[in-house]
Symmetry: C2
Subunit: 150 residues, 2 copies
DNA sequence: GCGTAACGGGACCTAATCGGTCCTAATAGG
DNA sequence: CCTATTAGGACCGATTAGGTCCCGTTACGC
């Protein structure tokens, strides 16, 4: 039921990796791609989106890279998804795109979607990036946890 | 952020129409399609799915049709979406499909998705079909409400 | 300064799948 | 027995997710 694109998934994984290092640390797109096993160009594209949304800050030139724009506690999963997928709701209705649905005048559910969208968004806004990283610590443990459903 | 397929949307609208009539009333696929402005074959396909999921009961033959299997209060939006889109979570991870993700061993967010999926599902399970129908009553008012975001 | 390492912002492709159509049973009234 | 209806497929076109590539800009460091 209801799916998020894989891109958004990757984005969260990338940011999770960033959140595992000290705040302010810079990560190159290549570095993050390697750690997450995401193809480099894809990771690069995602990081650009995240930078445009203001979730990460970028530094160009040599020794450049990406870093978290704020504390991991201040970034929600909803923020990340919105940065990558755009402010699209569960349905296209009520997302500000007027006239997108040509059967609006006949829709029995008209005006009933907004509360649902908000409920879902609230659920996602309550999950912070800081809660996504493995609590026990760095990458080492990850290998030992194989077998657990991702 | 996060999208539902149009099919699921249509399904909800179809069921909403059913919920606007007295419980036990039978509706033909054509009838519902006409009211919802959904193409007939599509509505038919959706109703089949809903019947297979046990949300509606079907009667074949002349004077047949579809009816709600239980009270509108007992059908949640989550039920409907699951019936049409299948039990897919926000991500493919944690939906029982083992090994779907080949980078599972390296995933920094491993095991962290289940709570999020559950939060979203809970939000949708709290919305009942009975809450979707226009409270003021039958179709007549719908036309008057034009201009409201669907 | 100049070369190189990084990001910025596109265009572009192709594989999946969403949304929709259609056809042939099976079923049940009249 | 005829007709209205659902059951269950096969099938198809258009959209888009997911990924690749290229070229420009920025800035560190030799």
């Amino acid at each position: 039921m209801i799916r998020m694109t894989k891109l958004a998934d990757y984005g969260i994984v990338l940011l999770t990796h960033m959140a595992m290092e000290a705040p302010g640390t810079l990560h190159t797109a290549q570095d993050l791609a390697g750690k997450s096993r995401v193809p480099v160009p894809t990771a690069s594209k995602l990081l650009k989106s995240l930078a445009r949304a203001g979730l990460v800050v970028s530094h160009r030139g040599r020794n450049g890279g990406y870093g978290l724009a704020r504390d991991a506690e201040e970034i929600s999963v909803a923020d990340i998804i919105a940065a990558i997928e755009g402010p699209i709701g569960l349905t296209e209705c009520g997302t500000g795109t007027e006239g997108a649905c040509d059967m609006e005048p006949f829709c029995a559910a008209k005006g009933r979607w907004a509360p649902i969208n908000q409920a879902v968004e609230r659920a996602l806004r309550d999950v912070r990036l800081s809660a996504m990283r493995p609590q026990a610590g760095p990458l080492v443990r990850l290998q030992a946890e194989s077998g657990v459903v991702r």
